[in-house]
Symmetry: C2
C-alpha cells in the first residue's frame, strides 16, 4: 500500500474541521514532576461524543460521494465508534445504521439512538454482527465504515496530533493508546509530517499485547484473551493501519492493569478530568519509562472519557 501524504492529512483537516471540536491541551505541574518530563495532554475526552473516534467517523462520512451519502453509512460496534458514526451521520444529515450485539449495555444503545442512529440488534458473536451488517448493506446500499482499518478513518484520527503539534511544535514524542491501530497510525502520520523529528509511540495493556508483538514480529498478531480494564483496546491491528505503524512508530510500551488504574486515578485526581481507562494507558507507559522520556516534551493523546460511573475501577 501507499503511505498517505502530508497533503492527505491537510485535506482531511479542512474537510472535518466544521464537524469537530478543536480540543484543548492540558498540563499538570504535579504530573510533570512525577514523570520528570513536560507532558501535554490532548483532551479528546472533550471531543464531541466524548472520544477521538468522532474525527475518523466525520472524515469517513465526508469522504463519501453524494450518491453514496444518500444510501447512508453502517457499522457494527458497541463502543465509541458506534456513537461517533451516528453523530457524524446526523451532522451530515444522512442515515446511520448501527448493528449492536444483544449483549451491549442499554446505556450504549440509548446513546447511539440519542444521536439519531438506526439501531439493529444482532446476536452476540462477531459472525452474528457481520451477518446482520451484510444483510443490511444488501438491503440499503449503505457504506460500511471500519473503526480503525480504513484510510479515511486513520487520517481523521491523525488530526488530533496535527492540532497538538500546531499548538506545541517542539514535541519530541507523541504517545497514544493502541487497540485497533487507527489512532496510532494517524498519529504516526501526523508526527512524521508535522513534527520536528517528533517520534510516535504507543502504550498497550500487557494483557492484550498483540500490537507490541506485531511490531516485533513484523506481522499482525492476535490475542488469546481480552482481559483488561482498558476495554477500548481489546481489538487488533489491521492490514491498512499496520504498514503505517510498522514504518513510522518507534516503539510500543506494555503496562500492567494496576499501572493503568493508577495513571487513570492520577488524571482524575490531579487534572480533574474524567478519562477512560484506555486513555490512561499512554500516561502509564510514560511514567513506567521515566529514563526513556526524561526531560522530553511529550504529547499524550487522551483518547476519550466515556465511562460507566457506576462501575469504576478505583478501590
Amino acid at each position: 500500500m501507499t503511505i498517505p501524504t502530508k497533503q492527505d492529512l491537510i485535506g482531511t483537516y479542512g474537510q472535518i474541521a466544521p464537524f469537530i471540536h478543536r480540543t484543548p491541551v492540558f498540563t499538570s505541574s504535579l504530573i510533570d514532576h512525577l514523570a520528570a518530563a513536560q507532558l501535554y495532554f490532548k483532551c479528546e475526552n472533550l471531543q464531541k461524543m466524548g472520544a477521538f473516534k468522532m474525527r475518523g467517523a466525520a472524515n469517513a462520512v465526508a469522504s463519501l460521494t453524494t450518491d453514496k451519502k444518500k444510501q447512508g453509512v453502517i457499522t457494527h460496534s458497541s463502543g465509541n465508534f458506534a456513537q461517533a458514526v451516528a453523530l457524524a451521520a446526523k451532522e451530515a444529515k444522512i442515515k446511520a445504521y448501527i448493528v449492536m450485539p444483544n449483549t451491549a449495555p442499554k446505556v450504549k444503545v440509548a446513546a447511539v439512538k440519542s444521536y439519531g442512529g438506526i439501531v439493529t440488534i444482532s446476536g452476540p458473536t462477531l459472525q452474528d454482527r457481520e451477518a446482520t451488517t451484510n444483510a443490511l448493506i444488501k438491503q440499503t446500499g449503505a457504506s460500511f465504515l471500519h473503526p480503525s482499518n480504513q484510510i479515511e478513518v486513520i487520517l481523521g484520527q491523525g488530526t488530533a496530533a496535527m492540532e497538538l503539534l500546531e499548538d506545541h511544535p517542539d514535541l519530541s514524542a507523541v504517545i497514544t493508546p493502541v487497540g485497533g491501530g487507527g489512532l496510532l497510525a494517524g498519529t504516526a502520520l501526523a508526527c512524521h509530517y508535522f513534527g520536528k523529528q517528533c517520534k510516535s509511540y504507543a502504550g498497550e495493556p500487557a494483557n492484550v499485547d498483540d500490537a507490541y508483538r506485531s511490531l516485533k514480529s513484523g506481522k499482525i498478531e492476535t490475542n488469546k484473551t481480552a482481559n483488561t480494564v482498558a476495554d477500548g483496546l481489546k481489538t487488533q491491528l489491521g492490514d491498512v493501519n499496520f504498514p503505517i505503524i510498522k514504518n513510522l512508530v518507534s516503539d510500543i510500551f506494555l503496562v500492567s492493569e494496576s499501572e493503568i488504574i493508577a495513571a487513570m486515578r492520577l488524571i482524575w485526581e490531579r487534572m480533574k478530568l474524567v478519562v477512560e481507562p484506555s486513555s490512561a494507558v499512554a500516561l502509564a507507559a510514560v511514567l513506567k519509562n521515566k529514563t526513556y522520556f526524561k526531560d522530553k516534551k511529550v504529547g499524550i493523546i487522551i483518547s476519550g472519557g466515556n465511562v460507566d460511573l457506576s462501575n469504576l475501577p478505583f478501590n
Copy 2:
C-alpha cells in the same frame, strides 16, 4: 460595615493574579438544552489545589504586612481552605500552621503537608480546634485566616466571577453554591460592579438551608443537622459576609440530595469534569428552576474538584 468598592476588587485581582490560574470557562450544548438556557461554567475545579479557596487564601496572605508575614499564617480546617492556605503561604515563602482535627482523613492531612503546611492535630470538636489554634497564635504570632468571614478572603473569591464576566460580559445571572458565604459574597460584589444588570444567586442543599432562611429572616440562621453529600456547604454565614449577601444577592434556591447527585453526574458524564458535590448544587438549582432562568445567559461557579474517588455517590 462598609461594602467593599469596585477598586477593592480591582486591587485584589492585581495582587493575586501571579499566584492563581485564570481558569477556563466550559459550555455544554447538551446541558444547555436540558436547562433551556445558556450556561457558562467557570471551572474552579481546575484552579490551583483544585478549588476557588486558593483565591481567597492568596489574597489574605498577600494583604499582610511584611512584619506579619514573617510570623506566618494559621487556620483550622480539614477541607479545601487548609490546602489553600498551605499552598498560598508556600508561594509567598511564609509559614502556614494548619490545625486539623484528629478525625480528618489521612489523605487530607497528607495533602496539606505536601503543600508545606505545618500540621498540628487537635481534638475533634470546634472548641478543641479553637483552643489549639489560639495556643499556637500566642506562641507564634501567626495571623489567623478565616475560610469565609474575612474581607480579604471574600474579595479573593470574588475574582472568579470577575474573570467570568470579563470573558462573558452579558451574563444576566451568576450562581454559586453557598456554605460559609465567602464565595457568594465575593461573587455578589463582582456581579454588582462588573456585570451589566447581572444578578447573583446561590444554590443550597435543602438539608442545610441556613443561608436560605437567613436571607428570608434578615439575620444569620444556623442548622441543627449537617446531613448533606455537599460536604463543603455545612458551614454557616458570618457577620462580615452576610451584610453583603443581604444587600446584593437576589435569591437562594434549595435543592434535594438526589438533585445534587444527578447534577453532579451530568457534569461528570457530559462535561468530563471531576467536580465536588458542592459544585453541582448551583447547576441543580438552575435545572430545578427552568422557568426562572429560561433563555438567560447564566454563569455557574464550579467551586472545586477535590473528591474521594473511593467514595463516590453514584449508584
